[in-house]
């Protein structure tokens, strides 16, 4: 067992993937000598060379577009987008090319490209450094979209994403980069499939559905709710596309109450999809409407205001109270 932070777990996962398969490449801005602005790729260029850990020009469309070309040639590029708000210059390549090209070829080609995006707020950053753009990509057919929430998952999920023959958008909760956990990197038998959701805390009275940075917040809320005599189940979705409906619906049928929690704006966010699916499939099991907690329909605010924008333990518990009020 080794104690690893989430960022170091990602680093170890990528290192393992690069050792296992010489076709795996890392590319992005500052990923080489600097090791990325969050140091997630720290030391990889030193060990694997500049041909495999490629410091690119400062152009996001270029990063994804050339990664597609490399994948067409048989490589497995892992692209780092420096911050969530800077994925948009690459959105065209991701949405119109990466997601759709395999289908255009009637399956003749595969594009095993991973797009890593540090996402979300809570680190006191300036504009465009704290956003949650997942819904843009879950709405795009042809992409797989996953979000890790803890070091152990980070270590395995990044390797699974790299091994996938489909393009994967991989969200990393940047405010959790420094969270640590004990990981057994020698074992593989505890690997959960990439697209499986996990009940990370069992409970009986209500289900909290979360992913990425909000999983920890929900676990804290569930611990606090226990003091009020409420037993909350927390489900870490891990994969947003595809969604592991079996685990979600099983939990909802048992508890009858659902609160969805994410950082992105509630309006048209991923929670809307969850609410619709839960309502359709669990209508007769629900004691209350599906409630959502998330960001406002505003741009992400300046950092002095972010604590009001981001869902916290109290906002989650307030929603739980409302769910019990029906």
């Amino acid at each position: 067992m080794t104690i690893l932070s989430l960022s170091k777990a990602l680093n170890e996962g990528m290192r393992k993937a690069m050792e296992d398969d010489p076709k795996v490449l890392i590319m992005g801005e500052d990923v080489g000598k600097l090791g990325g602005v969050f140091r997630v790729t720290d030391g990889l260029q030193k060990d694997f060379g500049e041909d495999r850990v490629i410091d690119t020009p400062l152009a996001e469309s270029g990063i994804i577009g050339t990664a597609i070309g490399l994948a067409l040639r048989g490589y497995r590029p892992v692209c780092e987008i420096q911050f969530d708000g800077f994925v948009f210059p690459a959105a065209d390549q991701i949405i119109t090319q990466l997601a759709k090209m395999p289908m255009r070829s009637l399956g003749a080609i595969k594009l095993p490209v991973v797009v890593r995006i540090p996402c979300g707020g809570g680190i006191g950053a300036v504009e465009h450094h704290s956003e949650s753009p997942e819904a843009h990509f879950t709405h795009t057919a042809g992409l797989r979209v996953v979000a890790c929430s803890n070091p152990a998952d980070a270590y395995t999920m990044i390797q699974q994403a790299i091994r996938s023959d489909d393009p994967v958008v991989f969200f990393e909760p940047k405010r959790r980069y420094w969270e640590k956990a004990d990981i057994d990197t020698s074992s593989t038998d505890w690997w959960t499939p990439l697209h499986a959701a996990k009940v990370v805390r069992p409970g009986a009275d209500a289900t909290l559905l979360a992913y990425g940075p909000m999983v920890k917040t929900c676990l804290e809320a569930a611990a606090a709710a226990e003091d009020d005599g409420r037993s909350l189940e927390v489900v870490d979705l891990r994969s947003l596309n595809p969604l592991d409906e079996a685990v979600v619906m099983e939990s909802v049928r048992r508890t009858g109450r659902v609160v969805v929690v994410h950082e992105a704006p509630v309006y048209n966010g991923f929670g809307a999809e969850l609410a619709a699916r839960v309502t359709e499939q669990c209508f007769y099991h629900l004691e209350a409407p599906v409630l959502r907690v998330g960001g406002f329909s505003t741009p992400y605010p300046p950092s002095k205001l972010e604590e009001h924008y981001l869902p916290d333990l109290d906002r989650v518990l307030d929603a739980v109270d409302r769910a019990f009020g029906f």
Binding site: G62, G69, L70, Q93
Partner: protein, 365 residues
């Protein structure tokens, strides 16, 4: 100076243009681009030009009869495509836009496959690896980056090959094209950028895209740019061959600007009479890429009437065959919608396919 008065890109003193065959069919020498073709090879290029024009005309006719939703004609650009396409070796990889029917021909892609896309049967449907000819790209400029990435893969494989990527004059305004120039330059990637400057991006003339001749852009990115007579199949072949050879031998990228003209409409839905004067078209007709090769063959007694007749006959057969196979192309099945979205199993796709299948079965009862 008003914008209208400036008309920079086209009114400037004509820059150097590599030409090996004049519009009158006279062979001219160029100090840097030598080309030694056998009579057989010249006849073969002529045949390519004629057959590709016939594929194109047949496709336009099929569109007019409602058999294709739309068609992007290459009329006038045959020499640029055949010249560059025949410069490729088997291991080189080509990345086209949506108009490279002549390059597809050189890569042995069955022309009926091109029709599939415009008929709405699929979004592409050929295996790029089978012909080293990538899928058509509709989004302007995207494929330039794919070509550079692929070229970076060639470098990592230590292979002797190059990529060639096609785009139009309008595309040079796109960010992706400029990003691809930067990437190619800083990584010294084995890629040839082949810009067919056909003077128009739908209705927008060249001067809406640039104030300098396009080939000169390359020097700002740090690699050579060259302008070639895009209606001269010999010159396009010679210039592209040299650029590909430079790429394959580690000398990095080249931008080729093939100076040509789109004689037809942008696509079958376009109406060039709204923005283009007829005299412009008439002037370019005199530079027709096929007529000059024909004149050269005739004058030098490298082909007789029987040869030209046989090529025309072959073109008629090709056209008829293409028409027959286009009409025979079956419509896809409804459930094909769900195929090939992902390589690996995907729960949502499976669920939606099953639901839709059940819905469709409801009609059969």
């Amino acid at each position: 100076m008003t914008v209208e008065a400036s008309r920079g890109a086209r009114d400037e003193a004509p820059p150097e243009l590599v030409q090996l065959l004049t519009p009158e069919g006279e062979r001219v020498e160029h100090p840097d681009y030598d080309l030694d073709l056998t009579p057989e090879e010249i006849r073969s290029l002529y045949r390519d030009l004629v057959l590709v024009r016939r594929i194109d005309l047949e496709a336009v006719a099929l569109q007019r009869q409602g058999e294709l939703g739309i068609w992007a004609s290459l009329l006038g650009q045959e020499a640029a495509q055949i010249g560059s396409g025949r410069a490729l070796t088997d291991s080189d990889m080509a990345f086209p836009t949506y108009r490279e029917h002549g390059v597809a021909w050189c890569r042995d892609v069955d022309p009926v496959k091109l029709l599939g896309l415009f008929r709405g049967v699929n979004h592409g449907g050929w295996d790029p690896k089978e012909h080293n000819f990538h899928l058509y790209t509709i989004v302007i400029g995207s494929q330039t980056l794919h070509a550079v990435g692929y070229a970076m893969g060639i470098q990592r494989d230590d292979a002797t090959a190059a990529t060639i990527v096609y785009f139009g004059d309008g595309a040079t305004s796109q960010g992706d094209v400029n990003e691809s120039f930067i990437w190619a330059s800083v990584f010294n990637a084995p890629v040839v950028f082949f810009c067919q400057n056909n003077q128009w991006a739908i209705s927008e003339p060249l001067e809406k895209q640039t104030r300098i001749p396009l080939y000169r852009r390359a020097s700002g990115f740090g690699f050579p740019g060259i302008r070639v007579d895009g209606n001269d199949v010999f010159a396009c072949l010679a210039v592209t061959r040299k650029a590909l050879e430079a790429a394959r031998t580690g000398q990095g990228p080249t931008l080729i600007e093939a100076f040509t003209y789109r004689m037809g409409a942008h696509t079958t839905t376009d109406d060039p009479t709204r923005y283009r004067v007829a005299s412009e078209l008439e002037a370019w007709k005199l530079k027709d890429p096929i007529e000059r090769v024909k004149a050269y063959l005739f004058k030098n007694e490298l082909a007789d009437q029987a040869f030209f007749d046989s090529v025309d006959k072959e073109a008629d057969q090709l056209g008829a065959d293409l028409r027959r196979r286009c009409l025979a192309m079956p419509d896809p099945e409804p459930l094909d919608i769900f195929d090939h979205v992902y390589r690996e199993p995907h729960a949502l796709i499976d669920q939606e396919r099953a639901q839709f299948a059940g819905y469709l079965e409801g009609f059969e009862k």
